[in-house]
């Protein structure tokens, strides 16, 4: 493997088109004749639909069709799928593609309008009259739990799911017993508010029907599963449906949910009308009709010894999942399992109730329950340190799982339904690097200047599987495809680095396609920091198959032993003898015996070329034509990346403004495929974390109106709000997969709220138990002080 690109900061192959306006996002598709869709959405958080009057729109110029629930046929009229059932989700509920008699959040789609363009479609929406009987809305976790009003009449107490998980201490005691007998105990409450993925490109769907086949472009994180959902909902044979995720303008979790109502309604309209149809979500729609995350209330009890070692931890979580549960209870499951972080604690009990409210549904947003988990555990560590008068880093170190304790079984079941066993890591070394990077031991705190720390472990690369297909064509090009999708992570580059390294070809000859079911039909999707791990390894394995085949064919042609061959710069040659060689392009030609030639190269494989043996058929038994290979990687279980962040924060004594002066990250995602890309993922994650810590929240009023559903009012950080991020990497390879990699996509965001809270607490001298925190909230806390 002389063409070594694995581990190098290779510049991105996506960039040329994205820098010149040649990217193809969903809204860029479709010609002048494409019809546009707009939706009438519920203005009420909870209401009964009494009547829908569309008569005023029927004469609107450019109107093509108006659909309500009553128009939807068969499966399309049934509730949307509950994607991830779980025994604890006893009362899972999903929405209808268009509301029938009840709406349960502002933004729920009620009427679909199709018109010649979007302006006309929105004109028509404004003329449709929906008569509602407004019902009392359930807003906020506490109101949900009080259950004076129900979001779903058949869900008592508004509780969708309830789950208790317990891990006993080594001596058999449970968490509550361990806490009771511990030398020290603490009890407290923590709050985290809602935020959202908020990709700059919203969702979008474009569909084309040719009378037999349906092609759908969707801004999705899972094209293969959207395809299956569309086939099921529209009752089409799977083979007649293809789904493509074109360039996608960010996902961060929200686009893993599927099928969205629009993802099945738009294709159905295209089939019904026989026209190309497109819907592009606008920003307000994204705020009120896609998904949010993060909102939780946590009640914590902890027992610990004089050195800060946790003997028992008991956490009760109230999780607000909004109006519906299409993505199951993945978020609170991740919170409750990843809460343990890099620590080896005595006994653990975690109980969560996942409750309905009349607000936008809650599904994973980058970090997916982990920011809340880490907030909980790291606040706990800081409180233990404060109670004992110990250094906060020392308390963490006292609880770390040690490098010689891997694999470490936390005794729980993780979000993939498999054991929560950490594969590898070096937490003490990580902490040492972090303390050095931020200058922990020499930092001098003073009022208004504080330092904070946060540690996390992230289960990445969850299964069940991904696949890779690799084909070398007779022009020497290498075509790689995998089914999962890309939203800016640089997969075309990272996967090409893997293929170029494995095959020994120049990266310029490698092209990568993701998220196109025409190229690869079996996949799960892009989420849970899994693409590099699962698709990356699948592509490596597929490349190894291709390499083996290339060496077999080349050995035959060169009359050499395959074991003496290597591939360098796209040429197979005998090790140590560069003249005895054959280009991969020729190997590709030889791999595919031809009757017909179309150029000089392929003429070598035709039937009168004199290269074939008469003793065996042109395709030998057990072989297939073509220099290509397909393989899958199905992980035994998740691989656990980790990291630690620290920040120095200044708070203004008068205005209570909060400024992050320094931000340091130590990150361990196993072997790095492309350090430049990993670094970029961390930067972006930290920026979202800063948003979640200091600025972003979803402000609902008591009627369930989202008051800040615009970029004017929902404050995402600009360049001026994000600190310079200093990073150091640790590479603890994963023993679980051939490449030794772990996921990196979500890492940056996970501990930020915990770190900033820790630093503000240090600067101010009173507890910070609620995030995000604004200057006025900090000012208010000072007043209570």
């Amino acid at each position: 493997m002389t063409t070594k690109l694995f581990g190098e900061p290779v510049q991105r192959r996506e960039d040329a088109r994205l820098l010149t306006g040649q990217g193809r996002y969903v809204d860029d598709l479709g010609g002048p004749g494409t019809l546009a869709v707009a939706f009438v959405r519920s203005p009420h958080a909870h209401a009964r639909i009494l009547d829908i009057d569309v008569s005023a729109v029927l004469d609107v110029e450019g109107l093509v069709a108006v659909y309500t629930w009553e128009d939807l046929p068969g499966q399309l009229a049934q509730p949307l799928p509950l994607l991830i059932p779980h025994p604890a989700l006893t009362h899972g509920r999903t929405a209808l593609a268009l509301a029938r008699d009840l709406v349960r959040h502002v933004g729920e789609p009620v009427v679909m309008v199709v018109a010649e363009d979007r302006y006309l479609a929105e004109d028509a929406c404004a003329l449709i009259n929906v008569d509602y009987e407004v019902l009392k809305a359930v807003v906020g976790i506490e109101e949900a739990v009080q259950s004076a009003q129900l979001v779903h009449e058949d869900v008592p107490g508004n509780v969708g799911a309830h789950l208790v998980q317990e891990v006993a201490a080594a001596d058999g005691r449970d968490a509550r017993q361990a806490i009771e007998s511990a030398p020290h105990t603490l009890a407290f409450r923590l709050d985290i508010e809602r935020s959202a993925s908020m990709p700059l490109e919203g969702r979008g769907v474009f569909a084309r029907w040719d009378g037999r086949d349906l092609r759908v472009y969707s801004s999705t994180q899972t094209s293969t599963s959207v395809r299956m959902a569309i086939a099921a909902k529209l009752e089409l044979p799977l083979t007649n449906v293809e789904v493509i995720a074109p360039d996608v303008g960010g996902g961060f979790g929200v686009k893993i949910v599927h099928p969205w109502p629009e993802e099945i309604l738009v294709p159905w309209a295209a089939m019904t009308l026989g026209r190309e149809v497109k819907w592009t979500e606008d920003r307000r729609e994204h705020f009120i009709s896609s998904a949010h995350e993060r909102g939780q209330v946590q009640h914590v009890k902890v027992g610990f010894d004089g050195e800060g070692r946790i003997q028992g931890l008991d956490v009760t979580i109230l999780h607000d999942h909004g109006a519906y549960t299409p993505y199951g209870i993945i978020v609170p499951i991740i919170t409750s399992t990843q809460l343990l972080g890099p620590y080896r604690i005595g006994a653990y009990r975690v109980e969560f109730s996942s409750v309905y409210t009349n607000t936008v549904q809650v599904t994973p947003y980058r970090g997916a329950g982990r920011p809340q988990a880490v907030f909980c555990m790291e606040r706990t560590m800081d409180k233990i340190a404060a109670a004992l008068g110990l250094d906060r880093a020392d308390v963490r170190a006292a609880n770390f799982i040690q490098p010689d304790q891997f694999p470490y079984d936390q005794g729980m079941i993780f979000q993939d339904g498999r054991p929560l066993i950490y594969d590898s890591g070096d937490y003490p070394e990580s902490l040492r690097l972090l303390k050095e990077l931020i200058g922990w031991d020499t930092f001098e705190r003073r009022p208004g200047l504080g330092i904070g720390i946060g540690c996390y472990v992230e289960g990445t690369g969850v299964g069940p599987y991904e696949g890779g297909h690799v084909q070398v064509t007779s022009d020497g090009r290498v075509h790689v495809s995998t089914g999962l999708t890309s939203q800016g992570q640089g997969h075309e580059t990272a996967f090409a680095q893997i293929a170029a390294t494995e095959l020994g070809v120049p990266i310029e000859r490698v092209s990568v396609v993701t998220g196109d079911t025409r190229r690869f039909g079996y996949a799960v999707g892009t989420f849970a920091s899994r693409a590099a791990v699962v698709s990356g390894n699948a592509i490596a394995l597929a490349c190894r198959k291709v390499r083996d085949k290339a060496l077999r064919i080349a050995a035959d042609a060169l009359e050499a032993d395959p074991r003496d061959l290597e591939i360098t710069e796209g040429v197979v040659h005998v090790t140590g003898s560069p003249t005895a060689s054959i280009p991969l392009s020729t190997v590709a030609v030889l791999s595919n015996p031809l009757r017909y030639s179309f150029d000089a190269e392929t003429a070598k494989a035709t039937q009168f070329a004199g290269t074939a043996s008469y003793d065996r058929p042109p395709i030998a038994e057990g072989e297939e034509p073509g220099l290509e290979g397909r393989d899958y990687y199905s992980p035994l279980r998740s691989t656990f990346a980790s990291g630690m962040h620290a920040a120095i924060v200044e708070t203004d004594p008068l205005t209570a403004e909060i400024r992050i002066l320094r931000y340091a990250v130590v990150h361990d995602c196993g072997r790095l495929i492309n350090p430049m890309i990993v670094e970029g993922q961390i930067h972006g994650g930290v920026a979202q974390g800063v948003g979640g810590a200091l600025y972003e929240r979803m402000v609902y009023d008591s009627h369930g109106q989202l008051l800040n559903a615009s970029f004017m009012d929902f404050l995402m950080p600009y360049a001026t709000e994000v600190p310079h991020i200093e990073t150091a990497h640790l590479e603890t390879p994963s023993p679980l997969n051939p490449l030794g990699v772990k996921g990196a996509g979500e890492a940056g965001v996970i501990p930020v709220s915990a770190v900033i809270a820790s630093a503000i607490e240090d600067a101010e001298g009173f507890p910070i138990d609620k995030m995000p925190i604004s200057p006025s909230e900090l000012f208010h806390l000072r007043g209570l002080g």
Binding site: L19, D27, D247, G249, G685, A687, Y718
Partner: protein
Amino acid sequence: MEREITLVVNGVTRQVTVPVRRLLSDCLRHDLGLTGTHVGCEHGVCGCCTVLLDGDPVRSCLTFAVSVDGHSLTTVEGLAGPDGLSPVQRAFAECHGLQCGFCTPGFLCTATALLRDNPTPTEDEVLEGVSGNLCRCTGYQNIVKAVHRAAEIMAEES
């Protein structure tokens, strides 16, 4: 109500008939087929739709197409020169200043105007200069780096 307007887009004179309420962003994208200009919020906050109007950055989602009748526009499609990518485009690639690419056209247009007016910006000037554009992927660090790098490339090549 429709009106015929003339726009000089990326140096090419284009005539187009648009409803008077047509946003410039929609006109560029859907009437002229220049889909490189993106629309992220349609209320003038995110900056994805930034184009250069007579050389200065504007939000094309807050501008009616008919309002710029007779004016010159540069979109992301017009930033590259005959010799290839502009220094700003090259610097963004070199510094990994983009991930999903959706906000990128707005940043490129903004940075192009910034460096034309101030070829040697300070750290604060760059921060301030790009702080009207949202990016959800990069955390901005590499965007800021790219703007400085572009200034360097322009200095080297001038």
